[in-house]
Symmetry: C2
Subunit: 304 residues, 2 copies
Amino acid sequence: MSENPYASGAAFTQDGFVPIADAKISILDWGFTRSDVTYDVVHVFGGSFFRLADHLDRFATSMAKRRIAPPQSRAEMEAILHKVVALTGLRDSYVAMLALRGRPRVGGSRRPADCDNHFIAYALPWIDVMTPEVQERGGHLWIASTPRFPDASFDPTVKNYMWGDLTSGLLEAHDNGFDTAVLCDAEGFVTEGPGFNVFIVKDGTVLTPDRGSLGGITRRSVLDLCEAEGIPSGIAPITRAMLEDADEVFTATTAGGVMPISRLNHRILGNDRPGPMSARLKALYWQRHREGWHGTPVDYSLSA
Amino acid sequence: MSENPYASGAAFTQDGFVPIADAKISILDWGFTRSDVTYDVVHVFGGSFFRLADHLDRFATSMAKRRIAPPQSRAEMEAILHKVVALTGLRDSYVAMLALRGRPRVGGSRRPADCDNHFIAYALPWIDVMTPEVQERGGHLWIASTPRFPDASFDPTVKNYMWGDLTSGLLEAHDNGFDTAVLCDAEGFVTEGPGFNVFIVKDGTVLTPDRGSLGGITRRSVLDLCEAEGIPSGIAPITRAMLEDADEVFTATTAGGVMPISRLNHRILGNDRPGPMSARLKALYWQRHREGWHGTPVDYSLSA
């Protein structure tokens, strides 16, 4: 059998379909030089996309808010997403879609409206934000001193690569021997971490922040599961004090699902292990996946 | 004579020295996917770099603050900058140096410390942030409603590509028929615009904001010129009201130098033309260039 050149990942770029190692952008693309790009990430589990329509909806909203309009229709983007996964042959995959500002078609222009926007997609082997070992013992979460960028400066529901504040928080976390970080805003309200939403559990109620956060699809799935199970839950202002006083804390992201936290700064939560509600929601989240919940089978015939 | 393949720009990337059209980065580089990159821009005027040592100093500070350490020494970076200009043969050039986080050398790592940082440099034909025609009539500057990212979330003296707030301001400006924008912070203090510092002139005194701004090299040059000419000047808090009430407004950036403003929102400044102090400082700035002020001759022998 010949080796599949797309085994470690496949991409669609301005060069067409290419192995991930060849997937590149110009160093002059404003998607890079102005971080003028929005993106989304959907995962494939057991050969099916999870909540693909929801991801495409969010991506469309993000593009509209930033006025980035690649030439592909939604149906064409969707077909490209199927094809990048099909090329890899992966049954579990991390799949990204990006819309970049591109470069001005008018020489010397500094106007976003003069740029040729473009679409990129790629599929990689499954990625966990926290390794399975860390998820088993529970993540160690550092409450960073760096305040999250305020919603007024940039709408946090537009998924973006402007991670400067999150990276600062991550560096702080690692300096202190922690796995990852959560940021509060300047007013002391909990927001999110680098690549994930945060939840607290207090007296049986599951809450997630109402500000400074992406409208995560995994976050929505958790709230859906709570509703289906009759677990009180909601989106609410969460102060740093509420976080520190929580019975349980967990994070939620496409690249990892529900990931329990066992340490919060120097406080050990529960028994230094994932709490019961976090473990229950994590188990439910993956059980529903195995049942085909919100699944769209990948069209693997596109690899031909 | 054969055409120089570097005529429209030359770059140094992980692929070595390449024509600008071939200068690319991986779509997985954290310099892109986390905007985890810092950079600097120096210009070449009449065959000499302007304040090269100051740009390299600032770049070194930015890299240290973000803990990005490419393998090249400062002397090696400097030699690369000379070489990219030499390859183009340009006597007037826009020259950028970038330090990117790169990609993790450990599969699946999410830790910035696990990444192989790298250095990119490129030289392009001279770029003006405002076209010569706009500079002649004076730029039309829009005071944007989007607040600048706060200094506490990201140190604005670290030159960066996280332009989401600036791009929002620029879109607002263009929607209103203006050339470019200036942003205030959430407290109503003037900061900077997309790629330039801002100055006001009031009763003969020249002032530039003390916050939310890059420590611009052109800004410093303007302050140096003021000092040499005995013009009162300084770095101070500037409210939006002070900006609106200014006698003159001008901007300052490497890619354009001193650029006068003739309209500020719907207020026409002076005679709808560059003000006398702005015009004087602009003329002085370029006169000093012609005299070799802070110049470092490019080593064009490196093109061989």
